[in-house]
Symmetry: C2
Subunit: 302 residues, 2 copies
């Protein structure tokens, strides 16, 4: 008989690759964990790990069992969470992940209104790149993530919130700066500055320009849009900038921002959660709140 306990121990063993430390992580002794792993192997009729001095190695079947076991454990967690959070809406702790090109710009506008309207919410924020966020979401380390859609991943449900246009940032020194609208060709003709690998903005910009040979680009390995904009200001090239990122601090007299010709490139910002998530309904409301907070913040500008 396969038990949840066995799956939990196996999961720990897969993470630590060491019986003793895995046992410690599970708050049991090493023999206890050893026995459960053995029983699991007996129940499944397969060896799951190769025991070798200097670490434990999963067999290929073992990896698959770990994968499936994680899913089972994750769904169990979601079930218990569902029960505990049931009817409480957004209340309680929400572990939210946000990509770097959204977090600093959108959060200042939505957090205050969120605190106003849902005082009992308790946000745990994490900011990293899309791949990591999705991985952590799937593993149950995060409850919901805010990022650029689409997200193609099994077991992930998404909710589009709003379009965010891309603008072209060009140095005033360049002749281009006087153009009314930017075009894809203009981008290709100049030095295109991008964030380092792994940032979705980089991929979106490349896709827009239909550049199939990104290896040809001079990558400055910039890690933030502010850095990127500094490079533009100093005449090193041009870059694509999401409209959302236009806050007062970012404006620089040496940089001109051009809208693109129709159809304007844009990214769709949205929320994503596990489709087994216990609080899918609450996250839809969260989406609603984000959209409203954004619209509210935009009004005064007009």
């Amino acid at each position: 008989m396969v038990t949840l306990r066995q799956l939990r121990y196996l999961d720990a063993l897969a993470r630590h690759r060491h019986f003793g430390r895995a046992a410690e992580d599970c708050a049991v002794t090493q023999p206890a964990l050893s026995m459960q792993i053995q029983e699991l192997e007996a129940a499944l009729g397969l060896p799951l790990v190769e025991r070798r001095r200097g670490g434990v190695k999963l067999t290929s079947e073992g990896r698959e069992i770990v994968r499936r076991g994680s899913r089972v454990l994750c769904e169990m967690r979601d079930m218990v969470d569902f029960a505990h959070h049931h009817g409480k809406g957004l209340e309680g702790s929400v572990r939210i992940g946000v990509i770097p090109s959204i977090a600093p710009y959108l959060l200042p506008t939505i957090l205050p209104s969120l605190d106003d309207q849902r005082p009992r919410i308790e946000l745990h924020l994490r900011e990293t790149q899309t791949d990591t966020l999705v991985e952590e979401l799937v593993q149950g380390l995060l409850d919901v993530i805010l990022l650029a859609l689409p997200v193609e991943h099994r077991g992930i449900e998404t909710l589009p919130l709003f379009e965010d246009r891309f603008l072209l940032a060009v140095p005033k020194s360049l002749g281009l700066a006087s153009s009314k609208r930017a075009s894809a060709e203009m981008v290709v003709a100049q030095e295109l500055l991008l964030l380092e690998e792994g940032h979705c903005l980089r991929d979106q910009a490349l896709e827009f320009c239909k550049l199939v040979r990104p290896d040809l680009l001079h990558s400055f390995g910039a890690t933030s849009l502010t850095t990127l904009l500094q490079l533009v200001a100093n005449g090193h090239g041009v870059t694509l900038l999401p409209e959302m990122c236009l806050t007062s601090e970012i404006s620089d007299p040496r940089v001109t921002l051009l809208r693109f010709e129709e159809p304007e490139p844009s990214r769709m910002v949205g929320l994503a959660w596990r489709d087994s998530s216990p609080r899918a309904d609450a996250f839809r409301i969260l989406g609603q709140l984000i959209v409203e907070a954004r619209e509210l913040a935009a009004l005064p500008k007009k």
Copy 2:
């Protein structure tokens, strides 16, 4: 702490709506099951069932927990199955479901060749309509189903196998019978005979004719294509017939079969299984075998 045992008992209780019989189903005594349900309710902090004389009623939260619990149990089963069937390919018992408009025509051609090539396979066949098959697949009562795509359902993976054209069966007595090709308009102009509600062929035919008011149709409630064809032979109307169903027994001198004008209507026949299914790889091979068996059977005709 929520345990799998509790989920199994809850599942039985949801099915039987009776503590005593659910307990019997689980091969334990009624107090044992009662206790586990109580502990589950305590762990989740929710009442799951209303105890009332003359049966047990699930609360709305209870239903959701049952749904999630079933998923957990199903994934556990799939995990154990994966381990047991691992590396054995198609060997062992496969519970396959097939829709009525495919089963009698396709199976005679594929079963023999399947037996030849995979002697150790043990097929358990079930024949019903699409909705039931999908439901049973999701619940883990079936391993794989053979039906007309698309199937839109969460957690279901599909594999298209081949196109199956629709032909128009018209009575020889009708003027139409001399036409070279049939058209959608011809169908609408005549009395269209259909299978009773629930058969996917009915829906596909209606969709093709773009009939939005199927309530206007005279439904004869035919339950088999043979019956339908008898009606056509006797001049009661016309019907759409999948090409696959053209076996010698069905041919009738009073009926003419017309191919449609381009684009010819057709259905895509394919396999579907749970995306957590342990034997997804084996089912892809099964699909391959079906396609090959069909091509083999078609050759002699030429």
